[in-house]
Every structure is written in C-alpha cells, then in structure tokens.
C-alpha cells in the first residue's frame, strides 16, 4: 500500500470500523449560539437551501485538520458559510463586512 492510499480510501467523516479510544460518556448543554446554529441548519433544510447530505459533505470538505480541531457546531457554521459561497448565495466580502459589523456592535456595547 502506498503511503497516501489511506487518504484516498477514507475521507475525514468515514471512520466506521477504525480503531479508537474507549467511549467516554460526554455531554454538554448547548451554548445559545450552538442551539441557534442547529435551528439555522433545520431552517436552511426547510427552505431547501442546504440539506443534510450537503451539510455532511460540507463538513467533510473542511479537511481532516479542521474536522479534527473544530467543535461540532463550529464545523457546521464554517461549512454553511462555504456552501453558501459556493452556491453564490453569499460572498466572502459581504460576510466579512457583516462580521465586522457584528463585532463592532459588541465593542460599542462594551464601551457604552
């Protein structure tokens, strides 16, 4: 087997059957933004803007490093952004501007 063959055969989400650590029974109540992110996913699905399979593929397309290091809903919101860019629904520029606006809102709030 070549040194890279496993990368071709297994995309980041495809982990069924691989060796892994013992199960640790972790759970946490969702952060408010995580719950909004979940609701956003459902609403995007209702409107046929992003369906479940597109979401899963979008997460996979983040690549192994991001899939490994970002948390569950962090992966989702980044994947949504990328899918919305790809579909021409949002542009990176307008999202960057909106991010600045959201950040500025909090800075004003803090300085008030």
């Amino acid at each position: 087997m070549s040194q890279t063959e496993h990368l071709v055969k297994r995309l980041p989400n495809d982990i069924g059957g691989l060796p892994a650590d013992p199960v640790v029974q972790t759970d946490h109540p969702l952060e408010p933004w995580e719950k909004r992110c979940h609701a956003l996913a459902d609403v995007l699905d209702f409107h046929k803007i992003i369906n479940t399979e597109e979401k899963r593929c979008g997460v996979e397309a983040l690549g192994a490093e991001m899939v490994g290091k970002l948390t569950y809903y962090e992966r989702w919101i980044v994947a949504f952004s990328n899918i919305l860019f790809r579909k021409g629904i949002l542009t990176p520029t307008e999202l960057a501007k909106k991010m600045e606006e959201v950040a500025a809102r909090w800075d004003e709030h803090a300085g008030a």
Partner: protein, 218 residues
C-alpha cells in the same frame, strides 16, 4: 479543575450588570452574521430561528419513552410501530419536522440492537431530541460497528454470547429507534409508570430498561 478556575475568573462580578455578556466568540459571531445576511436577503424569516429553537426544546427522550410504553402495552400499536415508525409516532401526535423515515428495531431474548451514525450524527431527533456528545464523537462512531460488544460493555451492558448483536448505521434519510425489552416485574405498571423506565440510552440501545429494583429484562 483548571477550566472551573477559569470560569470563575471570568465571572468575578457576576451580579454587576444583569444581561451584560462577554463579547461572543468567533463562531458565535459567524453564526449571527450568516443568519442576519440570510434574513436581509429574505431567504429565511427573522422569526424562523426562534420558532425552530422552540421546536428543538420541545423534543426530549420523554416523547420516545411514551412511544415505547405504548408499544409495551398495546400489541397492535407495537406492530404498527415496527412496520412504520414514523406513522406510528405521528399517530401519537409526534410531528416530524425533518424529512426522515423512522425504523424501529425491537430488542428480544435473542437479538440486541444498537444505533450509531458512523459518518456524522444522524439521530431520531423528532422523538429523542438532540444526541449526546458521545454519540457524535469518534470512539463511539468508529467502534460501534466493529466491536459492539466491547462498546456496550463500556456502558456496563454485557450481552450474552448467544444473543445476536445488530448494529444499525443511520443515514440522512433513515433514523433508528430501539424498542428496549420490557423489564420483568412490571406487569402491573401503568403506561405512565412504564414510560418513566425508558431513558434516552435505552432507545439508542446502549443500556437495557430497568425496573426500579434493578431487574433488567436481559
């Protein structure tokens, strides 16, 4: 312990200003930005996220527990549930807000069923709510399909060698709910009392349902 210390340091003035929060993190702001842009473009309604959060909050394992208790007490309902899980749940007034089918698998004396989503986190959300973190994490997803008996043992569930273990891998379209075995000694229980014995994990298939005295039907 370290993170608790950290949390404490972040809230040295907990009662100073009610409602004032720390600046949200990057991903929190990213969610806000994406959502606001979609609302501005009229692709989603401003109120839809709030309403969907209410729907999500209304879904807990208590719904699935009611379904299981009904199946334990009503053989005709059980037959309908096993034939078409979604239709039987809808019959009990549980709406499916996502476009998924529900397959119900019954644990018996000879077969133990377990649910996993190896690729991601598909789960019967309309009847159980959102999945626990361990269900979405690598160890469970990777190992449930290759060494289910070992994984079950990590939940304290020992399956005898003569009982077959079947693992069901969820998809975007088909979700699985396990109908656990009714515990022994519950013949005189009401449907409501039975429902109280049915936990989330029994319906994922990682633990048996137990009567209060601890006698599991296994």
């Amino acid at each position: 312990m370290e993170s608790q210390e950290h949390d404490h340091d972040d809230h040295t003035h907990p009662h100073e200003e009610v409602g004032r929060q720390d600046k949200p993190g990057y991903y929190d702001m990213l969610e806000t930005a994406v959502r606001e842009l979609l609302v501005e473009k009229k692709l989603i309604g401003a109120d839809e996220i709030r309403r969907q959060i209410e729907v999500l909050d209304s879904r807990t394992p208590a719904l699935g527990a009611k379904v299981v208790a009904r199946a334990w007490t009503d053989p005709e309902f059980k037959a309908r549930l096993l034939a078409d899980g979604r239709a039987a749940c809808e019959e009990m007034g549980i709406t499916f807000y996502d476009d998924t089918l529900l397959a119900v698998r019954e644990n018996t004396e000879t077969v133990h069923n377990l649910v996993v989503c190896t690729l991601c986190s598909c789960y019967p959300r309309p009847v159980l709510g959102l999945p626990p973190d361990w269900y979405k994490a690598k160890p469970y997803r990777a190992r449930a399909v290759i060494e289910p008996r070992k994984v079950l043992a990590e939940f304290g569930t020992i399956i005898p060698d003569d009982v077959e273990v079947r693992v069901h891998d969820s998809t975007a379209m088909v979700r699985f709910l396990i109908l656990p075995r009714r515990p022994d000694g519950t013949d005189d229980y009401t449907e409501e009392q039975l429902a109280a014995l049915v936990t989330r994990d029994t319906m994922i298939g990682v633990v048996p349902a137990r009567a209060p005295q601890g006698s599991a039907a296994q």
